[in-house]
Symmetry: C2
């Protein structure tokens, strides 16, 4: 089974020496595959699975301004408007005016939103396990640390 790479072989995945060692390339590849796999498994919750990270962020940081939330999930302020519009229409999220500053709106999770998060989180952890199959606990810890480092390097 330790056969050298043969580009003419049947179902072998294509590679390139120039990019096979690049973390930035594999990062993109892994993210695309992971994202698709999660959305392919979890159905029947509307847009919630796609924005589960955001919902968790709102749950654990209640009453934050949209700008901070956008920065936290690495999205534009303008993108978050549409997303929150939909999550609010689905009754998962609530925008409240703050008395001190009439510009900002605080974002809160509704009880329904909390229930959806509680239902979705176990599925996310199952997906996480499928993702990281074959990796030891220390591998996963180093993996996570490396990802955090990348985010920190480019912020």
């Amino acid at each position: 089974m330790t056969e050298p790479v043969d580009p003419d072989a049947g179902t072998a995945r294509l590679g390139s020496p120039a990019i096979d060692g690049q973390i930035s390339y594999k990062l993109r590849l892994a993210q695309i595959v992971a994202y698709r796999a999660f959305e392919g498994v979890v159905t029947g919750f509307g847009a919630a699975p796609r924005y589960l990270g955001l919902l968790c962020l709102i749950r654990d940081n209640p009453g934050q301004a949209q700008s901070r939330l956008a920065e936290a999930v690495a999205l534009q302020r303008s993108s978050l408007v549409t997303i929150l519009d939909r999550l609010e229409a689905d009754g998962l999220v609530e925008r409240r005016a703050v008395s001190g500053d009439r510009r900002m709106k605080q974002v809160w999770l509704t009880p329904e939103g909390g229930r959806v998060v509680d239902l979705l989180l176990p599925q996310a952890e199952a997906h996480e396990a499928a993702l990281t199959a074959g990796l030891s606990a220390t591998d996963k810890a180093l993996f996570l640390r490396a990802l955090d480092q990348v985010v920190q390097n480019l912020s």
Copy 2:
């Protein structure tokens, strides 16, 4: 009505215990940040930087069918059509008919495409270095191995 729940001070990045330990979440975050950083730095090459990985793949696997290329970069066949249209219009790529099978078209890199790749690859490596700052050689090797494992797990 709204209790100011903001114990954190100043410019601390928002977090959530539920997702801070999730590789799938951080994977997405890191990829978004990395992608933006690369495109923000490299300018003046049209659409080539965005599809540098694809171009390298074509260069090192000349004459592959579009389907094969699409699978390799984790994109849909239909998405690759538009991409190759543009790269071909820019003179970087060439589609050739194959005599054996009139359905498929082999994709080749033009000499101009080769030159562009040669110009872009050093910048990609500089970006790679910025990405992985603070990571040791073994850290980077394990990082890469973990990313490959993720891709393999979900394929």
